[in-house]
């Protein structure tokens, strides 16, 4: 099923942001799935950190508060950990990433997903997150700042 994509170009870099998802300013996308949420890294997060060599995701059953580290990636450039944008329990982890961490770079919005979380908060579980347009603006600002460095 095709998903509408927002796009921003900075220099030669093109960053895609699926329109129907939510985002943390750390670059984690959140896709609601009933009482659950699928989490992954945004296209901007994977491009700016580089080719993923290793990924570590907290195991199934882990209870998360908002802001708890739930995943870490290691690239040639950096080691980066990502805070959970939601409160809940990890119920699924993308095992494909163990053998193919490059999926995070190749399909950050699809097969490169990281984890599925059963949400603790019944209502307004995602209301604190950014919508696609707001995240797009952040991506543009951060990308331009990166170019100036």
């Amino acid at each position: 099923m095709s998903e509408e994509m927002l796009k921003v170009t900075v220099d030669k870099f093109i960053f895609l942001v699926p329109a129907g998802r939510f985002y943390s300013d750390a670059g984690v996308w959140v896709k609601p799935e009933d009482h659950r949420a699928r989490l992954g890294l945004s296209d901007f997060a994977q491009q700016s950190n580089g080719d993923v060599a290793f990924v570590r995701v907290r195991p199934m059953g882990t209870k998360l508060e908002r802001g708890d580290e739930f995943a870490e990636i290691e690239t040639v450039k950096v080691n980066v950990s990502f805070p959970s944008p939601v409160r809940g329990t990890i119920v699924e982890v993308n095992r494909s990433l163990m053998d193919a961490p490059e999926l995070i770079n190749q399909e950050p919005d699809g097969k490169g997903w990281l984890a599925v979380v059963e949400l603790s908060e019944a209502e307004d579980a995602l209301s604190h997150l950014l919508d696609a347009q707001a995240y797009l603006a952040i991506v543009k600002g951060q990308a331009e700042a990166e170019m100036k460095r």
Partner: protein, 247 residues
């Protein structure tokens, strides 16, 4: 295939794309690589962008779109000019094409090998980096808007870059507008964006804004001096129409 909705892009800062052939067979190929990296990493890091030639040739959308909109400098190790020809094939003729040691003023063997350059080779890296920097500075000279200065030996300066078509679908996201100027059709890059910025800033479409409009137009388009008055007239008329439609 997911659909893409592009938000109206803001006018990007103009930069220069450097495309080095990085040819592995001869020392000059390595010279191109090191000279380009020196410019990109040290000498003009905020004014230049590297275009990765293999990615460019294999279909890199971002690199190709960048090279369509921004001026490029191709740096080649030999007369096969893979970087220059590749750029022209997929985006547009580079503004400048440099061939290292193109006049063969130096014995190639003095430069070393493709794998290891000698001191002489590293001096050539410095020279070529210096040439690239001079051209970057000229290409980004906004007041003059055109290259000046005599050609350097072994360096070919191609004709001044004509305005490029850059429809939204090409990937650069920069819209164009086609106007009638002195009886002929002319396409101006980024004109809709310039109008949108001016309109948003509350600048009225009258003669007082004419010079400012043309300064903005000349950042992204090459306007012959002799025709500037005709262009200015057409642009201000177009801006009047734009403001009326967006009132």
């Amino acid at each position: 295939m997911p659909s893409e909705r592009t938000a109206m892009p803001e006018l990007p800062k103009r930069k220069v794309g450097i495309i080095a052939c990085s040819g592995e067979e001869i020392a000059e190929g390595t010279v191109t690589r090191l000279a380009a990296l020196r410019v990109l990493e040290s000498l003009r890091p905020h004014e230049t962008v590297t275009i990765c030639l293999p990615l460019f040739l294999a279909g890199g959308e971002g690199d190709r779109a960048f090279a369509r909109f921004h001026p490029t400098i191709a740096v080649d190790g030999c007369e096969k000019r893979c970087a220059a020809r590749g750029t022209e094939m997929y985006s547009g003729k580079p503004a400048v094409s440099i061939v290292v040691n193109g006049d063969r003023s130096k014995d190639s063997s003095l430069l070393g090998t493709a794998r290891r350059l000698t001191e002489v080779g590293m001096q050539v890296v410095d020279d070529v980096a210096g040439q690239i920097v001079r051209h970057v500075d000229q290409l980004l000279d906004l007041k003059r808007g055109r290259q000046t200065g005599p050609p350097t030996a072994g360096l070919e300066i191609l004709q001044e870059r004509a305005p490029r078509q850059a429809a939204c679908s090409c990937g650069s996201g920069i819209p164009v507008a086609t106007l009638q100027v002195a009886g002929r059709e002319v396409t101006l890059l980024a004109l809709p964006l310039i109008f949108a910025e001016f309109h948003e800033a509350g600048k009225l479409p009258d003669e007082s804004v004419r010079n400012e409009l043309m300064q903005a137009v000349k950042i992204y388009n090459s306007i012959p001096d002799a025709d500037e008055a005709a262009y200015a007239h057409a642009v201000i008329q177009e801006y009047v129409a734009f403001c009326r439609e967006n009132h």
